[in-house]
């Protein structure tokens, strides 16, 4: 098959699927007759072709997808104004704790935030399929363990959790500027080690 045709098939598959497609998916379309390296190369070409257009070809946790460039969001939002989700600070804090500390129990979340947890916050995240229960902690009461899903990564345009933004330097946040930088780094380290007694 001509490469041009293969490329066009890959492109149309990406344009018609809202779920990200993996290299495996593309191979399946061609009954595995096309090398993975060829597919990667064509994906690169497609990415180039669309550079100055309205969609971006991006790679996320589940594979490749086309998404609208951010500059269009103000217009696209108007098509479905009540579909645009908005989360409270509490929900976002819970999400951040689950994302950075997973797997965590409800108790862990409450301990970090210092306040009891409204079950609704977790529900909203589970409903969005950003968070899932991945098991039970084998302690009395067998509390559920929460973790982020691949959809969470997809929706935030991440390939893996390691792409989450790093914590801000403590100097910018809580410590006053008079403290030396090196010291604060140690403290971050220390702080993240100590939190895991259930």
């Amino acid at each position: 098959m001509a490469q041009d045709k293969i490329k066009q098939i890959i492109e149309v598959a990406l344009l018609t699927n809202s779920q990200p497609l993996s290299i495996d998916d593309f191979q399946k379309m061609f009954d595995k007759n096309i090398e993975r390296s060829t597919i990667r190369m064509l994906l690169d070409e497609i990415k180039q072709d669309w550079q100055n257009k309205a969609l971006d070809l991006v790679q996320v946790a589940h594979g490749y997808r086309f998404q609208s460039k951010i500059e269009y969001s103000e217009f696209l939002k108007k098509l479905n104004p009540d579909r645009v989700p908005k989360y409270s600070r509490a929900v976002l804090e819970v999400l951040a704790i689950i994302a950075y500390r997973q797997p965590v129990t409800r108790g862990d979340i409450e301990k970090i935030r210092g306040v009891s947890l409204n079950p609704n916050s977790l529900k909203q995240l589970i409903e969005r399929e950003w968070v899932d229960i991945i098991g039970q902690k084998e302690v009395p009461g067998r509390p559920s363990l929460y973790a982020t899903t691949k959809y969470f990564l997809d929706d935030f345009g991440l390939k893996s959790l390691s792409q989450l933004p790093e914590f801000k330097d403590l100097e910018d946040s809580i410590l006053s500027p008079s403290i030396e930088k090196d010291q604060s780094k140690d403290d971050v380290q220390e702080a993240s080690n100590i939190n895991d007694d259930g």
């Binding site: 699927n17 696209l76 579909r83 970090i112 933004p165 914590f167 006053s176 008079s178 702080a191």
Partner: protein, 264 residues
């Protein structure tokens, strides 16, 4: 954009105003205090705010000062919303404990940080602060559905698209999940008997949709229906009337009963 994006460094607002702009010892009217405190995510958040407001070095917290400021807030809060105050009261107890331990004679070797009773609080504050800023950063990241949409052109096939298949087990599992989560709120007791009543409720409403008025007795077929079914049907009518979905009428004593949809 969301509150989080334009928020100030403390993340708290009162009547749309930056909380950081409140004068230090301003008297806060009780209704405002509630709004004020609700803008904090909890005791750690309030503590962080107090530390930042006074530009206190978190590694060297002047406990006396901080504790009294904090307790002052909590005192006011107690009179308004005792439930909200519980977490805050716990924090006050912790602050007082730290303060009292600081008053005890200090160990000989000042290098030993572990001995500082503030260490645990500091760790908590640091960790919370990290998560708070991580939450802000997450919120600022472009998100599918909010900041961008995924390409989703129509996929034309020769065959008609099959509708999704669902079987009874899927439904069972979905219901199990609903119950599992709803259990955190309240008990939903669904029994088999209630289900059959609900089924009758639905079919009566359907019948009323077609005929505005139904004779009460037409809903019962005493010859064909077994007694339990008649009972269930009767219960369904009672339930419908209790939920104010239907009206039961009678023109005069001993005349036929009629049911019709409740009207506005």
């Amino acid at each position: 954009m969301s509150e989080l994006i334009n928020n100030n460094e403390f993340g708290a607002k009162l009547y749309g105003e930056d909380i950081a702009q409140l004068p230090l010892d301003l008297y806060i009217p009780p209704e405002a205090l509630e709004v004020y405190l609700e803008s904090f995510e909890g005791p750690l958040d309030l503590l962080l705010y107090l530390i930042r407001k006074d530009n206190i070095d978190v590694l060297d917290i002047p406990m006396a000062n901080l504790t009294s400021q904090y307790i002052n807030y909590v005192e006011q809060m107690k009179t308004i919303n005792i439930e909200l105050a519980a977490d805050y009261l716990l924090m006050s107890a912790m602050l007082i404990e730290i303060k009292s331990r600081l008053l005890l004679p200090k160990p000989e070797n000042p290098e030993e940080d572990e001995e500082d009773p503030r260490a645990d609080l500091v760790r908590k504050l640091i960790e919370y602060e990290q998560m708070k800023s991580a939450a802000e950063e997450l919120n600022e990241m472009p998100q599918v559905g909010r900041d961008m949409l995924v390409a989703n052109a129509y996929f034309e096939t020769e065959v008609n698209k099959l509708p999704p298949e669902v079987n009874i087990d899927d439904l069972y599992t979905a219901w199990a999940n609903v119950i599992k989560r709803a259990k955190q709120f309240e008990q939903h007791k669904i029994t088999k008997s209630e289900l059959s009543v609900r089924e009758h409720m639905t079919s009566i409403l359907r019948a009323l949709k077609e005929n505005n008025l139904l004779e009460f007795s037409s809903l019962f077929n005493e010859e064909k229906d077994p007694i339990p079914k008649l009972v269930v049907c009767f219960l369904a009518i009672l339930e419908l009337s209790k939920e104010r979905l239907i009206k039961i009428n009678q023109q005069e004593p001993c005349s036929p009963l009629y049911i019709q949809l409740e009207e506005a």
